[in-house]
Symmetry: C2
Subunit: 355 residues, 2 copies
DNA sequence: CTGAAAGCGCTTACAG
DNA sequence: CTGAAAGCGCTTACAG
C-alpha cells in the first residue's frame, strides 16, 4: 500500500501497464493499422475482422491514448470554454451543459475565464487554443462578440461555436439565445396586467444581451401603444447594487412606475430591495420582472417573475454542435440546432396594475 | 479570408507552421537532445550553449508541444479539478484560484463535476484521471473526503491534493480549511455580544465541514460556560429553504433564541427570511451569523455577519502545491503551505443581546 | 479489405 | 558537456 510520488513510475507493484494498440493487434493477429481503422470507424474493414477486434478491445479494456492520437492527428481531445460572464451560476451551468453534450465522447473540458479589457486578453486566448491544440472552443457573451477573437479563431483554424443573443457569424458557428424574444415576453406580461407606467433598468450598454432585452421590451410596448420614455430608463451594470440605485431613482418619477423590468435577476433583486426600502409593496405597488431565472430569482421574497434562459441546454447544444464540427470531414456538418428560446416564468413579484 | 472547416488543415494560406524542436536544433547547430535539456532545465549544458539556444527559442517563438512532451513523459500537462460542492460561487472561485496558481506554468485546467451518490462516480473519476494521464488532480469537499477516491488515486499513482476541513491524509497531500476555528470565531462573537440563548443550524451531517463548524461553535460556547442544548440544534442541508424551515422551528423554542448561527450563508439568508416573516427584527430581536462570505451574505438586508473562507486563495495554494508535487523528482517537495484560516466578518446582522 | 514504412514532436537510456 | 538511436502510442500516405 506504499504510495509513490515519483511521476515516471505510475503503476503499482503489479506493473499492470495499460494495454496499447500493439497488444490489441497482436492478440487479434492483425496489423495495428487495422486496429486503428476500427478505432476510427473506417468502413474499409471486413465485418468479421471488426467484430473480432472489438471483442478483444472490450476484453482487455483497451482505450486509445488521446495524447498519442492527438500527436498524430495534430489536435488534442480537449474542448475549451472561454468566458467573461461574471455570474457564477451562468458559468457553472454552462460547464455542466457542455459536459452533458460531451459525455461519452472522449473529450475533456478545459476552462478559460478571461477579461476583454485585459491587454493580454487576445494573446492569452490565442495561447489557450493553440498550445494544447484544442479540438474546439466555445465562447460565451461578451467574449463571443469580440471581433478580434473571431480573427484569431480563423487564423489558427480552431473549430468554434459562439453563443450570442444575435447572429454574429454564420449559422454553423452560432448558438443564438434570442434575448429580444425574452424582452418582448416581459413587456407582454406587464402590459396584459394593465401596467402603463413602466420603468426599465438596462445592463451594460456594451452587452448585446442588454441591448436585445431592451429592444424586445420596447418593441412590444410600442406595438401595444405604450411608450418607454427616457426618464423611465436607467443604466445599470448587471449587479445587485446598481439594481438598488437605479430602481430608487425610478421610484422618484412622477407618475411613479407601477412596474419595473430589470435586464437581469441580480438587478431585479436589487430593485425589489429598493421598493421595500421605499416603504412600498411588491407586487401591490410595484411589479418587478427579472431576466435569467438564476437562483436569486427564487430566493428573494416575493419570488421574482423572470425570463428563463436555458443556460445548461445552451451549453449542451454548443458542445454537441462543436463536436460535430470538429469531427466533420470536408463536408459541412448537418444543419445542427441553432437557437434557444427564452420563456417567461410567472411568480409572485408581478400583479395587476393598481391606479 | 475563407474559413476552413477541415480540421487536418490547420494553418492559413501562409502555411506558417509552428516551429519544432528540430528547427531550434538546426538553427543552433546542436542536437535536439541538447535543446531538450535546455527546455527541461537540465544543469548539464554549457552556459554559452544554453544562452544561444534560449535566444533562438525566443526569436522564432518556439514553445514545446505539450502533447508530444506528454507522450514521451507518459503524463499530460493537464491539471484536474474534481468537485461535488453544489455552490456555484465556491466552484468558480476555486477554479479562479487554481488558475491563479497555474499561471505561466504551461498547465491547463480540466474540470470534473461529480456526484458521490452516483453509482458510476468512482469509475468516472478513475477514467477522468487516467484517460488523459492528468499531471495531477485537486479534490474539494465532500469528494475529497471519500476513501474510495483515495484508493483510486494511489492505485493510478496520480499526484493529488485534497482540500478538507480536517487532515484526512498526510500533509503533503492536504490543504486544510480549519472550519473548527471558524466555528469558534462565530461563538466568540455572539458570546461577546451577550447572547446566551443561541440556536444552531447544521449542514448535512455527512459533511465534515458541517461537523467541524458545529464542533468549534460548541467548544467555544462550552469554554464560556454556555450550552448548546439539543432543542436548539436543527439539521439543514446547506440550502436556503432548509434555513427558512429550521429557523422557523428554532423561533418556537422557549425561551426564544436571541441569536442563530447557520453553518453556511445560504441557510443564514433563509434564517433571516424566517425571522422577518415571524414579524421579528434582525438584529434587534435575533442576531444571525452565516459561514462562507459568499455574495448572498452581502446581498440580503441586513448584510450578514459571517465567517469568510478564502476559497480562491485555497485554490491557488492547492494548485501551487500540486505543481510542486507533480514536478518533484524523487525527493518529497518542500513543506509547502498547508492550511488556510477562516476570519470573522462583522456586518449588520448581529448586535447586542436584548433581554 | 489489409499491412510495412515513415512520421507526429518530444524524451529516455546509453555512449562518448 | 553533447549526440545518435530507439521509443512514447498512435496515424497518414503509399502499396498491394
Amino acid at each position: 500500500m506504499a504510495s509513490d510520488e515519483n511521476p515516471p513510475l505510475r503503476r503499482g507493484p503489479g506493473g499492470d501497464k495499460k494495454p496499447t494498440i500493439n497488444d490489441v493487434a497482436r492478440l487479434a493477429g492483425v496489423s495495428k493499422k487495422t486496429v486503428s481503422r476500427v478505432i476510427n470507424q473506417s468502413p474499409f474493414v471486413k465485418e468479421e475482422t471488426r467484430e473480432n477486434i472489438n471483442r478483444i478491445i472490450a476484453e482487455i479494456g483497451f482505450s486509445p491514448d488521446p495524447q498519442a492520437r492527438g500527436l498524430a492527428f495534430r489536435r488534442s481531445f480537449l474542448i475549451g470554454l472561454a468566458y467573461d460572464n461574471p455570474n457564477p451560476q451562468y458559468v457553472v451551468n454552462m460547464q455542466l451543459g457542455m459536459l452533458d453534450g460531451m459525455r461519452g465522447s472522449g473529450y475533456e473540458l478545459v476552462v478559460h475565464p478571461c477579461n476583454r479589457s485585459n491587454p493580454t486578453f487576445i494573446a492569452d486566448f490565442r495561447r489557450f487554443i493553440e498550445r494544447q491544440r484544442l479540438a474546439g472552443v466555445v465562447l460565451t457573451p461578451s467574449a463571443s462578440e469580440d471581433d478580434r477573437v473571431k480573427a484569431v479563431l480563423h487564423e489558427v483554424g480552431t473549430p468554434y461555436i459562439r453563443i450570442a443573443s444575435v447572429p454574429v457569424d454564420d449559422a454553423a458557428h452560432m448558438i443564438i439565445s434570442n434575448d429580444r424574444v425574452g424582452g418582448r415576453a416581459a413587456a407582454r406580461h406587464l402590459a396584459e396586467l394593465g401596467h402603463t407606467v413602466i420603468g426599465f433598468i438596462s445592463g451594460p450598454t456594451s452587452f448585446r444581451s442588454s441591448q436585445e432585452r431592451r429592444g424586445g421590451f420596447e418593441d412590444e410596448l410600442k406595438a401595444r401603444g405604450l411608450d418607454l420614455a427616457d426618464e423611465y430608463v436607467m443604466h445599470g451594470a448587471y449587479t445587485f447594487e446598481t439594481g438598488v440605485s437605479c430602481a430608487a431613482e425610478l421610484l422618484k418619477r412622477t407618475p411613479r412606475p407601477t412596474a419595473i423590468f430589470a435586464a437581469n435577476d441580480e438587478m431585479a433583486a436589487g430593485a425589489l430591495h429598493a421598493v421595500v426600502r421605499a416603504g412600498l409593496k411588491c407586487p401591490d405597488d410595484v411589479s418587478i420582472v427579472g431576466y435569467d431565472d438564476f437562483q436569486i430569482a427564487s430566493s428573494v421574497w416575493p419570488p421574482l417573475t423572470t425570463v428563463r434562459t436555458p443556460t445548461r441546454e445552451t451549453g449542451r447544444m454548443a458542445a454537441e454542435k462543436l463536436i460535430a464540427l470538429a469531427s466533420a470531414g470536408a463536408e459541412p456538418p448537418q444543419q445542427a440546432a441553432y437557437e434557444t428560446s427564452p420563456a417567461l416564468v410567472v411568480r409572485e413579484s408581478t400583479g395587476p396594475a393598481r391606479r
